[in-house]
């Protein structure tokens, strides 16, 4: 086993990472740092460069420019791989082997002593509810069970840093919850987790900090709450009336930036929700309308994401 360098609070350091696929610039001078024990979200739409970045960090592909390190070891080196656990996007376990054999294979490839691997493997399979089926071939597993197994395979070496690329994509609610709970408990034990996702709620619920990546560029890095609150002009008021009101009329009310129709409701975006509520009350009383419901909404991470990626597109 390799020793882990101490007295360092940086788990992942990325400087000017750049990757081309032919003419396409997939990752464009990306830099960020992930602290030890941090649950870091890498958020972006499909094709933003998330998976390419993870693949460079996990040593599957090499960068064209820039550098990356995992616990001070150069990304892609055997030492960096040794301290990391990986759940690649859309990865499969070996379908012709049992869950147990898949786990023991991984343990052997990480040089974990057999007795430790057996103990850890049994405990992980218990946690993920797979232990009773441990000797069944993986080809008989459901999608959720396979993903849980992949996660166990990433954890059997007890890695300091865990990379997960869209781990909950396409899974049912229960499977997603099990994975989220596990990630939170691992993080509570001090593991560093690098999670890529395009699911805003997931990033919002799990991550200490989130980097938003779009078209190969990082457009923002901050705590999810700070990202939401920093999105000026994205507060909104959701209102429904007992009668039909045209969106054009609502757009003319002072303070309204944009109007969006959502079923029988309207969402009115504004920089100042307090003033808008007063204006709406005045409008409805002067036009003989009754307000059925009215909610003031703070911007969601999704709003922040859309605003930030659109700003990026305008710059481009």
């Amino acid at each position: 086993m390799f020793s882990v360098p101490m007295n360092n609070n940086v788990a992942i350091q990325v400087v000017n990472l750049t990757k081309y696929y032919g003419e396409l610039l997939a990752v464009d001078h990306v830099s960020f740092t992930v602290g030890r024990g941090e649950l870091f979200g890498f958020l972006g739409p499909n094709g933003a460069g998330k998976t390419t970045t993870v693949r460079i960090l996990t040593g599957v592909i090499t960068a064209d420019k820039g550098s990356a390190s995992i616990l001070e070891y150069k990304a892609g080196s055997l030492k960096a791989k040794q301290v990391a656990g990986v759940v690649p996007e859309m990865a499969n376990a070996y379908a012709d082997l049992s869950a147990w054999d898949n786990l023991m294979l991984m343990a052997e490839l990480y040089g974990i002593p057999a007795s430790v691997a057996r103990q850890r493997g049994a405990s992980l399979l218990q946690d993920m509810g797979l232990f009773p089926r441990k000797d069944s071939l993986v080809k008989t597993y459901s999608r959720g069970m396979k993903q849980h197994l992949i996660l166990c395979m990433a954890l059997v070496s007890d890695p300091e840093v865990l990379f997960l690329d869209e781990p909950t994509s396409g899974l049912d609610v229960q499977s997603v919850r099990l994975i989220k709970d596990l990630l939170q408990s691992l993080n509570a034990k001090g593991k560093t987790i690098f999670l890529t996702t395009h699911d805003m709620d997931e990033a919002n619920q799990l991550c200490d900090r989130v980097a938003i990546i779009n078209k190969g560029n990082i457009v923002a890095i901050d705590a999810p709450e700070k990202l939401r609150m920093a999105t000026s002009g994205m507060h909104s008021v959701e209102i429904s009336f007992d009668n039909v009101v045209s969106p054009e009329v609502l757009a003319n009310i002072p303070g309204v930036n944009t109007v969006k129709k959502l079923g029988d409701k309207y969402r009115l975006y504004t920089a100042n929700p307090g003033e808008l509520v007063v204006s709406l009350a005045n409008y409805s009383s002067s036009h003989g309308l009754n307000v059925i419901s009215l909610n003031i909404l703070v911007p969601s991470l999704e709003d922040a994401f859309v605003a930030l990626t659109e700003k990026e597109a305008e710059h481009a």
């Binding site: 990986v86 070996y94 294979l105 052997e108 490839l109 040089g111």
Partner: protein, 251 residues
Amino acid sequence: MPETALVREQMRRSLVIARKDIRIYYSKGPVIIFGVLFPVFLFLSFTIGRDLSVDFMIPGLLGMILFFTATSISPIVVPWEAQARTLERLMSCPVRIETIIVGDILASFAFGVGISLITIILGLFLGVTISNSVVFALALILAAFCFASLGTVFSIPPTNMPSTVNMIAAVVKFPVVFISGVFIPLDQLPAWGQAVAYISPLTYFTDIARTSIQGQGHLPIVVDLLVLLAFTALFLVVAMKLHQRTMPRRI
């Protein structure tokens, strides 16, 4: 970690990969069909009805069986794993690309040696005797390793379709069998035929088998062994260098 300890550790992990390949790929359809059934039927179709001695047939059959079996697994593992989406996980483990390739070679090598032993036992039952059995065993091991290494050269193009790799392999393997003294001894070939035969690694193993079983070959055994060794080194270097480039492109 000192380099020798690192190499030992990577070798151990190659063996782990080989064991995984053995458990998964030995029973795969294309391996059984192209690796075992095909050479047997090909050989039968060329020998049945001809008045040939067992001493003549067994070295040829052995050469062909070893060549087909030892090249049946190593070409398909990497594309198969890329297609099954297990390759990325394997590449993110603390193993070098060379470690993965050597693991695949070892699995193919063991398959080649195992099936060839069945042929040898069959030959012994039919009254064949092997002179110089130690040298012959050494040649069998070296040739199996050489052919298994050649198999990984076939899978260098970064396609994720095992059938495409098998097609590339077949285009090379069939002509090789016909120019390697399997059906016609080298001494009976014209000069140009012998010149062509010298570019096939199978020629040298078949020649050792003929020397050991029939009592006479075309080249001295030492020359055969040295050329096999040179081919092995060439295939290994080419496979390792080029897989470094193409394996990441499969992901």
